[in-house]
């Protein structure tokens, strides 16, 4: 097993355990902390896929901003005081659905001949300069729309979360 493969399995196990922790943790705060582990693991996978820019974005936006926002809301809503034990029938049904979905996806992934679809064996480094050029030229309209979406969403979030004004 090469150095790269060993690193991949390490990061994959960390990510999987983080994800498992998110869905199984009894305490909401622990679930949020497990989510940070899973998100940083995914950033590591992006690095292994040689997409450094995405790894950076992942750490900055997900690892920092999103999880801190979640911890803030957990703090403000005191949801941690509410017992989070799942209902039994719901839990087993959810497990059945998720397991069958994973089985379906895994068979589809394993029986597909990826070589015939043109999967490369050589990993080429993603050039950040080229990525930026493509993003700002070919994909500039979606980029602007995305910025508009962010603006609208944040204004909406402020309006929703603002305390009620006294009459």
């Amino acid at each position: 097993m090469s150095y790269e493969e060993g690193l991949f399995y390490l990061v994959a196990v960390v990510t999987g355990l983080g994800g498992l922790g998110v869905v199984l943790a009894r305490n909401v705060v622990y679930a949020a902390l497990f989510l940070i582990v899973a998100l940083l693991g995914v950033a590591g996978l992006f690095l292994l896929l040689s997409a450094e820019f995405l790894a950076l974005v992942q750490v900055l936006i997900y690892g920092a901003a999103v999880t801190i926002l979640m911890l803030f809301v957990i703090m403000l809503t005191r949801v941690r005081d509410v017992p989070t034990t799942p209902v039994a029938p719901q839990q087993s049904l959810g497990l059945a659905v998720a397991a069958s979905l994973f089985g379906l996806l895994a068979t589809a992934i394993l029986i597909t001949d990826w070589g015939a679809l043109g999967a490369t064996e050589e990993m080429t480094l993603v050039p950040v300069r080229e990525l930026g050029k493509v993003l700002f030229q070919r994909w500039s309209v979606p980029f602007e729309v995305a910025s508009l979406v962010l603006l609208v969403a944040l204004v909406g979030a402020i309006v929703l979360a603002r305390p009620e004004e006294e009459e």
Binding site: L49, I109, A146, A161
Partner: protein, 102 residues
Amino acid sequence: MIPIQHFLLLGALLFSLGVYGVLSRRNVVLILMAVELMLQGVNINLVAFAVYLSPQEFRGLIFALFVITVAAAEVGLALAIALRLFRNRATANVDEVDTLRW
């Protein structure tokens, strides 16, 4: 070189864990976290496809970037709604919010 299947399997695993979380949890914030997990699985798939199947174009990477952007907007809005829900109904459990239920 790690085969592409390994990345795809991990993405499928994260997505299935997210599905399980969405179906079995009742707390709004925990459901949101499970949705984030599903998005991460999708992102791994997109980036793996971009790197392995079309290294000259960056479609998958651009898609992953947009997924992250929209997910950030979604988290902001959803958490504001959760806050408002807690303020109005004093609950964070989705099955206690059943005013529209027939």
